[in-house]
């Protein structure tokens, strides 16, 4: 069971809520409460985040797409928030570049930091 909502930018946020009752931080709800024009995520009685505005209101921009829920859940929660943003053509572009031997720096040696 997931909570999914669509965003003004064309992207979406999905929260895999079965993991939420065990989360002590509820970091997603806390960070969302700081956003203007008001929280999108509030805490439900079952200990899972739920939506305060309607899906239509969220799609119109009530979710500011601050990505706070995504990042805070990643470090303080159970890392169950996923964010999808449209970037039509980027993957195909990267594949084409790689095929031509022009590999983006971050795909060349991602472990370079560790080895130095």
């Amino acid at each position: 069971m997931s909570l999914e909502f669509h965003l003004l930018s064309g992207g979406s946020i999905t929260i895999h809520t079965p993991e939420c009752p065990s989360c002590e931080s509820k970091a997603c709800v806390k960070v969302c409460a700081e956003q203007s024009p008001g929280p999108v995520l509030i805490l439900g009685e079952d200990g899972r985040p739920c939506l305060k505005p309607t899906l239509t209101e969220i799609k119109r921009g009530v979710c500011t797409e601050c990505l706070g829920c995504l990042l805070e859940c990643g470090i303080h929660g159970n890392n169950v928030v996923r964010f999808q943003a449209p970037l039509e053509g980027l993957e195909a572009y990267l594949a084409e570049q790689e095929a031509a031997g022009r590999i983006p720096i971050y795909r060349q040696d991602a472990k370079q930091v560790e080895s130095t």
Partner: protein
């Protein structure tokens, strides 16, 4: 601003009832000869690039035989025009031109009104004519609520120096249709230079149509992609970046590649770096500081107007996809932009492109957060462990653009010495 190619502009004008020469755009010399045969010789062969003065730069040729058509087409495809590769040419009937007229409709920002421009001395030198003798180009504002009706168009032409009755009668319908084109397609500029006066009446011998960027989404029929105006066809990354602002009005994400393949940086012996700024002023001053230190920004980016974190996430992924970069700088000007959101977008992108290190990059990256919520922005980087990377430098509002460039230079040298990366 989205500028149409001449052949696209002419199609639009034809659809609005303005006569244009018979012809077609083609992509190889064999097709060119086929079209010439269809429409009949002699023909004009015109390179389709988004640049002016094509005639004076050899981008327009004439042919009286099919062999000449093929030779002209081959020559045009072979040589870039003003540095832009020619991917299409327009083959069209050669007009017998008796006189050349200049007609245009554009926006006058000072009046906040459309303005009609008419000159009876049209042709390639119209800019010089206008500069030398502004009276030769008549400028008439149009009341947008009334539009341009036939009698008003005739009145404009009547006031144009040198216009005859025949000119007024034949050009008024063209002017009205040009104005309708301007309004219907949300143009910034529609220009016919020249309108060729022929024995069969006025014909649009050239066409320039610039659509307002902000209105592109209203015209899916034009098949335009929203990209920055660069005077050359957009690169694939610019096309991808152009989709970011579509449908999301919260802040902007401008992205232009200054050196798409890194060849300019190589030629100049500079180190190619990627770049994003809040505010064009900060962007230009930082570039000015970086170049003498041996770096070459391979892109320009401006993410201002308080973009959402998701917009920052997307543009950062595009900026980092440039294969040749050996560093990245993000510099904000001091403004009210909510920089903690900006930071979250960048951090989300870094975590995704450097998954093995939790977002810590393998190239030097400098972030100068200056403005609203700048301390919170730095904290986001700390919270997510990215600030701990040896290749990340975080600066606050105490630095100026020169300090930031010098700090990046120091960081890059340290990175180069430690990793053995050869610039």
């Amino acid at each position: 601003m989205a500028r149409l190619y001449e052949y696209q502009g002419k199609e639009l004008l034809r659809g609005m009832g303005i006569p244009v020469p018979r012809g077609r755009a083609v992509r190889d010399p064999i097709q060119a000869a086929k079209i010439a045969q269809e429409i009949g010789l002699p023909v004009a062969i015109k390179a389709q690039v988004l640049a002016g003065r094509r005639g004076k730069s050899g981008g327009i040729r004439f042919a009286t035989t099919l062999e000449e058509v093929r030779m002209a087409a081959r020559a045009l495809f072979r040589e870039p025009l003003h540095g832009i590769p020619v991917e299409a040419i327009l083959v069209e009937e050669r007009l017998e031109i008796r006189r050349e007229i200049y007609l245009a409709v554009t926006a006058d920002p000072s009046r906040r009104q459309p303005v009609v421009l008419v000159s009876l001395t049209g042709g390639v030198d119209i800019e010089e004519t206008a500069a030398q003798d502004p009276r030769q180009v008549l400028r008439t504002p149009v009341n947008i609520r009334e539009g341009l009706l036939d009698h008003a168009a005739r009145n404009i032409l009547r006031k144009t120096p040198g216009a005859t009755s025949a000119d007024i009668l034949s050009l008024a319908p063209v002017l009205c249709s040009l104005y309708r084109t301007y309004r219907q397609f949300d143009c910034k500029l529609v220009e016919i230079n020249p309108v060729a006066l022929t024995s069969a009446g006025p014909v649009a011998a050239d066409a320039r149509v610039d659509i307002d960027d902000d209105a592109i989404w209203r015209h899916p029929e034009l098949g335009l992609r929203m990209t920055e105006e660069t005077g050359r066809p957009p690169t694939p990354l610019e096309v991808i970046a152009g989709t970011i602002d579509v449908g999301d009005h919260r802040g902007t994400a401008h992205f232009v590649q200054l050196d798409p393949d890194g060849s300019v940086a190589r030629e100049l012996g500079k180190i190619p770096v990627a770049f994003d700024c809040v505010g064009t002023g900060a962007s230009l001053t930082t570039m000015d500081e970086l170049v003498p230190l041996g770096y070459y920004p391979v892109n320009f980016a401006d993410t201002s107007g308080n973009p959402s974190a998701s917009k920052m996430y997307r543009i950062t992924k595009v900026i980092l996809a440039q294969p040749q970069i050996q560093g990245y700088l993000f510099i904000s000007c001091i403004s009210s932009q909510q920089l903690d959101n900006t930071a979250r977008g960048i951090v989300a992108a870094l975590k995704e492109v450097f998954p093995a290190t939790g977002g810590q990059p393998n190239i030097p990256m400098l972030f100068a957060f200056r403005g609203a919520y700048d301390e919170e922005a730095v904290q986001v980087f700390r919270d997510h462990g990215i600030a701990a990377s040896p290749w990340v430098e975080l600066l606050g509002r105490e630095v100026d653009e020169r300090d930031a460039a010098l700090a990046f230079h120091k960081l890059h040298r340290r990175w180069r010495d430690a990793t053995g990366s050869v610039p």
